[in-house]
Symmetry: C2
Subunit: 396 residues, 2 copies
């Protein structure tokens, strides 16, 4: 048994880590940073999960040039420019930036991460000149969390102190960004997790993959996958304390909460909806139907319109191509039965109840296929006028 | 060689066919019909392509109860109610309606087609009472084309007279509807094609499948596939004239034009964009990338915002999972090179040119993957505030 306690001030709680940000002129609003760093006193093991997009951005290519299981003590992050589709020059720009960093600060295998517009070279001089304004011995999680935002409307940071039964403890904290192009992510989803737990590298790798599958890979704002998506875990082990289940449960909980923050901040979104598909023949089919629901434009606009008609839900399941049968299918909104073979038409009373459920900021749609035992839940949001506005005007 | 001439007044041009519509009280606006018919003096061969949605609507199940290669002389169509997800009762309702029709009019194996909201039983009495108001010997293509509309903003009808070198001729005409949920279609795409050509049944089947693949299956408004999608071809052969290539070419041309009409009428859409993917390793990959582009929310909102940034185009190709390489990829907007390995950043001059291209009502995006010989073109549209409005408020 263990106890996980939430802490204020995000990354600042993890022993031996420093963080901060400055405005290097990439973002017009000077009150918000655009270049952030996370630094550890001692070398860290790093695990990372990157985008499945074939066109991986330059920072990801640069990361992968390091030898397997390399250690690092420094992450540099910039907003407003994704350094994606920039070719070999994009990777060279990172080398240039990091060599300037080397001259200012004793860093080991520094890594970089970027988010913003695709197709433009990084403003190398602006970023390197920011090093003079950065205090690498500060702890300012708020500034770092705010500097990595793009279309995000709020910063995303979390921290947990995990106390074991013997009274020892370790900390785990994260900042992340993402609001659109989420599937798991685009316009990019970035997440940086740091810990002082004494976690073995093999556990880092496995738990990060598992928790990503159960968090960021289950949310969809718009079904697109970015060139830059990155989830990174750095462990400096300075607490000397570790407990696998305590770490795994807390990491999973934290990453799920961050994923829900991204979804709540989904561009223009007002509602968070869980789409549980159960009773499917296989897990693959349950996942396929669940993701089809969280990605469907027609379902998303019906959510925005608070239209209780289940027709678009059923039709989307039918269009997903999974084995299904309208005689075995049932659909619930929260606990309200909204469709079954015996109960196909919405009467006024149930329609009123359904409408009340849909007015909520968050609710659950459960579709029981009735043909098997497999289930999967994904999480989506509505599609509003503001999504169109944000994405029509993004670059301007 | 042959000559295909466009004709006014749609279905009215095809010998031996009658058509019309009335308002049976399904649609509040009494100036527009909601029940339409197409009737032939003599029995017709029928070919049909139906939705790939597992939950096929009741009219499709009813159609499939007839023996293979049945003949029919009557199609009844209603709007405002899809008769989908209505179970066995939905099929029984069609039997009831058609048995009343039998009592009023000598019909052979009549078929029905429906479009509208999913999940409600047909108003059987309203529809059967409409038979008194319908003159089955009239020819009113305009009324029929308008009666089958749902969110369509304009009626869709076309007719061609095909004249062969020996001076003989046949006619082919169609009405169709569809504006949203198009992939090939939902909120339903319906198309009824009639001809007096003396076409063999085998040619009807093959040519209808081919032409559907090259027309309705290449357009996407929102990536959803309806429970009711239907493309139907009726041939009464009364002209006694047939020429396979002349028929095939004209059918393909007509169906492509109808598909473009649907796309131009795409809910809230202002732009029609052809997405050609060429140089792919396989046809399957070219199709996958092309359809990913016409379905991407981020591409669609960028089109609406007239944002010439090619980043979302490239990222969508990368996310589609096909073999691709940023060094061999090129992207053109019409004839303007917008991305290549040597030419990654948009300068002001090219950005201005790209912007001018995107201001057009229709243009082409060509992505050459540079790895093979396969190509595929699909057609999409932009996503505007009005799409959200139409679909948020659809049922109310």
């Amino acid at each position: 048994m263990f106890k996980a306690t939430t802490l204020e001030n995000g990354l600042e709680n993890v022993h031996g880590f420093y963080c901060g940000a400055t405005n290097a002129g990439l973002r017009p609003d000077k009150t918000q940073g655009d270049v952030a760093f996370i630094r550890s006193e001692v070398p860290c093991d790093i695990s990372a999960v990157f985008t499945s997009n074939t066109f991986q951005a330059a920072p990801i290519k640069h990361f992968q040039k390091y030898p397997k299981d390399f250690q690092s003590n420094f992450v540099l992050i910039n907003a407003k420019n994704a350094n994606a589709m920039t070719g070999d020059k994009g990777v060279e720009d990172i080398d240039t930036i990091l060599s300037v960093l080397h001259a200012k600060q004793d860093v080991l295998n520094p890594v970089m991460s970027s988010t913003g517009v695709i197709g433009y070279r990084l403003p190398v001089d602006k970023i390197t000149s920011a090093f003079d304004a950065l205090d690498f011995n500060t702890k300012d999680s708020d500034a770092a969390a705010r500097a990595i935002m793009t279309t995000d409307s709020f910063k995303k940071e979390l921290a947990y102190k995990v106390t074991l039964t013997d009274g020892t403890s370790f900390n785990i904290a994260a900042i992340c960004k993402g609001a659109g192009m989420i599937n798991p992510a685009m316009a990019t989803m970035l997440c940086f997790i740091i810990t002082d737990a004494n976690i073995p590298k093999a556990d880092m790798d496995n738990l990060l993959i598992d928790s990503t599958e159960d968090s960021f890979n289950r949310i969809s704002v718009d079904g697109d996958t970015s060139t830059n998506d990155t989830v990174m875990l750095l462990a400096n082990k300075t607490s000397g304390v570790y407990h696998k289940k305590a770490f795994a449960d807390t990491l999973k909980k934290m990453m799920f909460e961050l994923a829900m923050m991204i979804l709540r901040d989904g561009e223009g979104a007002n509602k968070l909806v869980a789409f549980e598909v159960k009773g499917a023949k296989t897990l693959e089919e349950a996942k396929k139907a669940s993701m089809a629901l969280s990605n469907s434009l027609l379902v998303k606009t019906a959510l925005f319109g608070e239209d209780p008609n289940w027709g678009r839900i059923a039709s989307t399941i039918g269009a997903s191509g999974i084995a299904c049968d309208d005689k075995t299918l049932t659909i619930h909104y929260d606990d309200l039965l909204i469709y079954s073979d015996d109960f196909r038409e919405l009467d006024k009373e149930r329609e009123a109840k359904a409408y009340a459920i849909m007015k909520q900021e968050a609710f659950k749609v459960t579709c029981d296929i009735g043909l098997g035992d497999a289930s999967y839940t994904s999480y989506g949001c509505d599609l509003s006028y503001d999504y169109v506005k944000i994405n029509a005007e993004y670059r301007t």
